[in-house]
Amino acid sequence: MILIINVSKDRLHDLEFIKPITDLLKKSKVIHYKDLKQKDLDSAEKIIIAGTSLKDDEYLKDLEKFSWIKDYKKPILGICAGMQILALANGSRLKKAKEIGQTEIKILKENKLIKDITKVYSLHQFSVTLPGGFDLLAESSKSIQAIKINNHYGVLFHPEVFNKEVIENFAKHI
């Protein structure tokens, strides 16, 4: 089972940022980060931390609720806000980089998650600085677009919109 961690402040956003991901997965469970318990982390095989809307930044005020990330041994995929959370939990900082809509990216390092991708769908106001020890997998002209450390991956773009195979790759190959 893949556990999807919802970071949206408003439930109406679940239909936009969570449902498109659950639709791509065979078996998943969704939980809001405010309700997350240790037993949820223990029972998950993998975790996806989903994105949220441009104006929603409430999760940034609750970063202590993600302190488990650094020591978590199972695979994680952070999407957009989820990548910001993954990076911030590893000592990174936010970096202003607004990108909305189709964005060109360049893959810098071969990896099992993103392959042969040149165009992505972006919806963010901030990227991050590369956290220590992470590999930089992809970038756009403005921002870091994909990062990795061990089996923890982050993508700033929204693969549930374009490049749905990224989520399938995470489910099958990571």
Partner: protein, 202 residues
Amino acid sequence: MRLASLFSGGKDSTYALYLAKKFDHQIVCLITMDSKNKDSYMFHTPIDKVDEIAKKMNLPLIKFSTAGEKEKELADLKRAIKAAIEKYQVEGIVTGAVASTYQASRIQKICNELDLYCFNPLWQKNQIELLNELVANHFRFKIIKVATDGLDDSWIGRVIDKESLPKLIELSKKYGFNPAFEGGEAETEIVYCPLFKDDSNN
């Protein structure tokens, strides 16, 4: 939250509005762009019935005209949204965007510039699931324009409901068109939805 609906009178914008209400948001007005460009990628045409539908839903309508020229139509949409903010203290927008990143990203940019929340509750939704939900929630909508192989003129004026939906899905599979018409294969107009105050189901 006080939301304005970007409203075309079609099934998607109406269902998005319905979902926003279901999730406890307050719809304070409808915004409709009357585009003179019938081939606009941004705005649904025609919008002949929006005044009537707004009245049936008992919601105020802000209707702005646009020549429908690429990019200029976005400035016109921004003016319309600003008018909604001033008149109805709107805090966010709800749209019926399903798959068009062209449309969705441009609305996201305008909302970002105006510091508004942007909700797209149908985003990436499976088209057949969407149609089934509409019918299950007692929405009835009429085809008002067709533009694809597989749908001849006899479909114009036809109401999609639980009787006609299976035939539409069958034709979409046979001819390979999008059954929810996301690619402009046809345009629809709401005939009845549970938000109508007069519950005559006409």
